[in-house]
């Protein structure tokens, strides 16, 4: 591979991995801000999102530059295309972490709901998916990526369960509807984060194997 292209690709790899690490941190902090009703931490996440937005634009510009200047093919082409998409998924995950943080600002300002709503299992699973899809990216492992795709069903089920619990709680505690809706939103945001982690995993499979597995669950295994 020409040295200059190799250098550009290495730099891009470093940037996307740094962005990935940053996103893992903000998701973790957003969940902690909900659990601990930590307004300061939540505000920090909201304020710092702009940095993630800037990095996303920078990564996209780097990808476009490589495409324009080096016309990469085969694995190099698949790498750039996958990074373009992963970059945008990571930025969306950052936005969802901000959404969770905004919910925690609200929840901290009102009385705790009577029913117990913990997101421990769901957030643990979502964080593990995010962690795994980034590991799959680092190690170019489609096996790990396939695991993420199948894990998504579990998070979807947890979100559905949360919906039913909130529905019940609304009937028994109609005075707490605003808080319950915010809690349901947190669940929905976690579920969306898991969806984006799945997208990233699918892009890793494309990068490694050249197979497009999106929209075709049965293809994860072929």
């Amino acid at each position: 591979m020409p040295k200059h292209l190799q250098r550009e690709i290495e730099n891009l790899k470093k940037k996307i991995l740094n962005l990935g690490a940053r996103i893992e941190t903000v998701v973790h902090e957003a969940i902690r801000s909900i659990e601990e009703r930590d307004v300061v931490l939540a505000q920090k996440i909201i304020d710092e999102d702009i940095e993630i937005d800037h990095t996303e634009v920078e990564v996209e510009e780097d990808c476009l530059k490589i495409l324009a200047l080096y016309q990469p093919v085969a694995i190099d082409l698949r790498f750039i295309v996958a990074i373009l998409k992963i970059n945008s998924d990571l930025e969306r995950i950052g936005d969802l972490a901000v959404n969770i943080a905004e919910r925690s600002v609200f929840l901290a300002s009102v009385q705790q709901v009577n029913a117990s709503f913990d997101f421990v299992l769901m957030s643990k699973k979502t964080e593990s998916m995010l962690n795994k899809c980034l590991d799959a990216l680092v190690n170019l492992s489609s096996e790990l990526a396939i695991e993420v795709c199948t894990d998504d069903d579990e998070v979807d089920a947890m979100n559905r369960q949360m919906y039913l619990r909130v529905q019940d709680a609304i009937q028994t505690h109609p005075d707490q509807i605003p808080s319950l809706i915010h809690l349901l939103s947190v669940s929905r945001h976690l579920e969306r984060i898991a969806d984006h982690a799945t997208n990233i995993a699918e892009d890793v499979i494309y990068m490694v194997e050249g197979r497009i597995v999106r929209h075709k669950t049965e293809d994860y295994k072929s």
């Binding site: 591979m1 020409p2 085969a74 694995i75 190099d76 082409l77």
Partner: protein, 251 residues
């Protein structure tokens, strides 16, 4: 017909040097097939086999078969002049004869004993139109072909082939002596010609192979490593060696 040219277990030796190793492939009609690979991999040698140009080189030994329209071109009874009329070749450097534009295009028809007079004039016009040269030089048919620009000369050489009504055009690095704009024009011409002719192009320029061809064959050290649709080869090749070559990881 599924294939215009069918290569079966072709081996070619220059003396003791094994230049083409047991190659089997088929070239689809009315398509552009690109042959790529590092220098000395046997791609031009293979191209020259398709109209038996290698017969002119000493110490060449060939085994296996090449079928053109289903007939073995290495059969002893094959008329070489007739074969080369059907399977013409365009070279790296435009090589017009030191004759007028008209005589260059008409030359092949005379050699092959095709009808003269008005029919030749019509064939010359048709061939020059097919390569987009007619409008540019219809008033200069008597001027020397050597006075044309390199791109016009290359177009003229293609017109010269078309005038004898070939079926296959072999192109050996046809744009390597041309500037980027002229290259673009010749590539557009190739796409146009592929509607009626079968084109096989040898190129060092991988972007060119990706741009113009529908099928790509990758050769290395005389062996056919991979042969597939161009989209597959450049997006997700099946062989590591192909990927390493097209991404510049070796060469």
């Amino acid at each position: 017909m599924d294939s215009k040219i069918e290569v079966r277990n072709l081996n070619l030796f220059y003396g003791s040097f094994h230049a083409v190793k047991d190659v089997t492939m088929s070239i689809k009609p009315q398509s552009i097939t690109a042959i790529i690979g590092p220098s000395g991999c046997g791609k031009s040698t293979l191209l020259r086999c398709f109209n038996r140009m290698n017969d002119l080189i000493e110490n060449v030994r060939i085994s296996g078969q090449i079928l053109f329209n289903g007939h073995d071109i290495y059969h002893p009874g094959v008329n070489l002049t007739r074969l080369r009329r059907r399977v013409g070749m365009v070279f790296q450097r435009p090589n017009p004869f030191p004759l007028s534009v008209f005589d260059n295009v008409a030359y092949g028809r005379r050699v092959h004993g095709l009808p003269k007079g008005v029919q030749t004039e019509m064939a010359v016009e048709k061939s020059l139109c097919a390569t987009g040269l007619w409008d540019e030089i219809k008033d200069k048919l008597d001027t020397s072909a050597l006075k044309l620009s390199p791109e016009q000369q290359q177009r003229l050489c293609i017109s010269r082939l078309l005038a004898v009504e070939p079926e296959v055009l072999l192109m050996d690095e046809p744009c390597s002596a041309l500037d980027p704009i002229a290259t673009q024009h010749i590539e557009e011409l190739m796409r146009e010609l592929a509607k009626n002719y079968t084109i096989v192009i040898v190129t060092h320029n991988m972007q060119q192979a990706a741009r113009v061809s529908e099928y790509t064959a990758f050769f290395c050290l005389g062996e056919l490593i991979e042969y597939d649709s161009t989209v597959k080869i450049f997006r997700n090749p099946g062989m590591k060696q192909t990927e390493d070559y097209i991404t510049g990881r070796f060469g």
